[in-house]
């Protein structure tokens, strides 16, 4: 099963294409990293995949052919948006309540145990938590929905190194424990080195490269994901190179 399938996918805001002619298949069971400079179209691609945005061209399906944004798609995907938006005036317990009631599944014992481990008090207002705690809360809420696909938009951009490490540890633990597929975007390449098994390189609204990290490194003769990405992003070929 492919967790995301796009064909000829494009999104135009006004006269400019934020993303165009995007065709890709992200297989299940991977941690897929969406890499590219700021403004490359990463958020646009993720918003299309989770159904927040409707495509201007082409189409995108998720979780084996479900229309992005459909009830079946929303049920299986958990999304943590950039800057991890939470209702700042609600307590942590209220955020659990709201998320539980907005979804068919919610693993309350898991969420409570996770928050206890993280030392996040249930009675504190979400807005009073530190940046790292807010990110962990948003991630915990997402994982407690028991998604098949977890989508993270620049999850660690605002976090300090320790919070970054803890956040990614939580993601990886969820991957190894119940095989959730992950699609995350980042412009912090060093964080991805450890976690990513699938890479999608995006720049200037086009997909430049997509594939298994191991295959890509072998094919392109690069020692690390970072070098591979840098090499590609420096070149920024004018014609789209996929796969």
């Amino acid at each position: 099963m492919n967790v995301v399938e796009a064909s000829g996918l494009g999104k135009r805001y006004g006269g400019t294409w934020a993303l165009r002619e995007c065709t890709l298949e992200i297989p299940a069971g991977r941690v897929a990293a969406l890499v590219g400079p700021n403004g490359a179209g990463k958020s646009t691609l993720l918003n299309l995949a989770v159904g927040l945005t409707a495509p201007s061209a082409g189409e995108v399906t998720v979780l084996g052919g479900r229309r992005a944004g459909s009830a079946a798609a929303l049920d299986g995907i958990a999304f943590v948006a950039q800057d991890t938006p939470l209702y700042k005036s609600l307590s942590v317990a209220d955020m659990l309540y709201v998320t539980r009631n907005l979804n068919r599944r919610f693993d309350q014992p898991y969420a409570k145990a996770r928050l206890a481990e993280l030392g996040i008090p249930l009675r504190r207002k979400a807005g009073k938590l530190s940046g790292g705690q807010q990110a962990q809360l948003a991630l915990t809420l997402a994982l407690a929905r028991r998604p098949k696909l977890l989508v993270l938009d620049e999850p660690v951009a605002m976090l300090d190194p320790v919070a970054r490490h803890d956040f990614m540890a939580t993601v990886l633990a969820a991957v190894s424990a119940h095989g959730v597929s992950v699609l995350l975007s980042s412009h912090v390449l060093t964080e991805l080195e450890r976690v990513a098994s699938y890479l999608i390189l995006v720049s200037r609204g086009r997909v430049r490269l997509a594939g298994e990290v191991g295959d890509l490194l072998a094919t392109h003769g690069q020692a690390s994901l970072e070098e591979l990405a840098m090499a590609y992003l420096r070149e920024t070929p004018t014609s789209a190179v996929t796969r």
Binding site: N47, A72, Q82, P85, Y97, L102, Y110, L143, R146
Partner: protein, 355 residues
């Protein structure tokens, strides 16, 4: 970091989904909007206490004045004077209290309605809300309808209390008691159907403005402006035409409770004057009209009869008080329809809005 707790393996297939039940939105809506709802409760509650405090002595004074016989006795005149003298901020719709009450629906609508979507857009939390399993248009529909119903119900309860307060001023027996006998139309916007309907309209305008403007404060300002325009247009242009007005030339049979829309005098089918007849006209035709009984100067009725003999007819276009409730329902009806339309437009925007 200690060992991580893991979620259990997901076991459900997403092929055939039961949607998340609607009723779950009740608790969600309450948690998110309890401060706004508490604010409405405090505002209406404080006004209710105030109405009760000033209304209780008013009702006692009225009951005493009505029960007194014979009405012309000095004691009764005194009681009547006590009732008439019970001046307060709410003696009429144009007193400060009356004016403030007319603003209450838009305060409720703008401050409870505009932030519902504008705050989600402003803080980015719509990215959270619209990607939950409930589904975004169902989320918007449930939330808006729930809040609208609760606010309208609060409006009904409050307007019932306000009508209790006003009852001495409207009671048929009061027609004889003095200057406050007024048309029920004067309080039209604050009555049991119109008041909650205005709250609904203001709420729906606020919700749509919030979705269009995506910022809380500008959305509130826009709501206030749009509401003011609609209020003026309704009172000044629409309401008089809910039913075809009646026309009479027999003004002294016109009940004091009628809503007079316009009044003028004509001769030979041509407009002559509005309001009181010009002095020159009275001197020309009616200088010999005797003074009215017990009054100084000339009786208006006698002058009118005199002018009528000379071919002057006073025309009055009015709505009788018996049309008060039909008018309430007509206005309530179109405002309910307008609110539903605005909320539907808001949900349509939620459905198609790009992130």
């Amino acid at each position: 970091m200690t060992a991580l707790t893991m979620p259990a393996r997901p076991d459900e297939d997403g092929a055939r989904l039961q949607p998340v039940p609607w009723r779950r939105m009740a608790g969600v809506t309450w948690r998110q909007h309890r401060y706004a709802l508490a604010g409405v409760a405090v505002l209406l509650g404080a006004l209710a206490v105030w109405l009760w405090i000033i209304g209780t002595p008013l009702h006692h004074a009225y009951a005493a004045a009505i029960a007194c016989h014979p009405a012309s006795s000095p004691a009764c005149v005194g009681l009547d004077g006590t009732f008439q003298g019970m001046d307060n901020l709410l003696t009429g719709p144009t007193t400060p209290g009356g004016v403030f009450l007319q603003v209450v629906p838009v305060l409720i609508g703008a401050f409870a309605g505009a932030p519902v979507l504008a705050r989600e857009m402003e803080t980015g939390t719509f990215r959270y809300a619209w990607t939950q399993g409930f589904g975004r248009w169902r989320w918007a529909l449930a939330k808006l309808v729930l809040l609208a119903v609760v606010l309208a119900a609060a409006g009904v309860a409050f307007s019932v209390l306000l009508s209790w307060f006003n009852q001495p001023y409207f009671a048929p027996a009061n027609q004889a008691l003095g200057p406050y006998a007024n048309s029920p139309f004067a309080w039209f916007n604050l009555r049991e159907v119109a008041f909650p309907a205005w709250i609904l309209v203001a709420f729906a305008i606020g919700a749509l403005a919030g979705m269009l403007i995506r910022r809380v404060v500008p959305a509130i300002v826009a709501t206030l402006a749009a509401y003011a325009g609609l209020l003026l247009a309704t009172g000044g242009l629409l309401r008089a035409h809910y039913l075809t007005p009646l026309v009479t030339t027999n003004n002294f049979n016109l009940p004091s409770t009628a809503w007079i829309i316009s009044q003028w005098t004509a001769k030979d089918g041509r407009f002559a004057f509005t309001g009181l007849p010009p002095i020159s006209l009275v001197n020309k035709f009616c200088s010999s009209v005797p003074a009215g009984p017990g009054k100084e100067g000339v009786s208006l009725e006698a002058v009118a009869q005199c002018l009528a003999r000379h071919g002057y007819t006073q025309w009055t276009i009015y709505q009788p008080a018996s049309r008060f409730w039909p008018f309430q329902w007509i206005q309530g009806g179109w405002q309910l329809a307008l609110s539903a339309l605005l909320i539907a437009a808001t949900i349509w925007l939620v459905r198609r809005r790009a992130a």
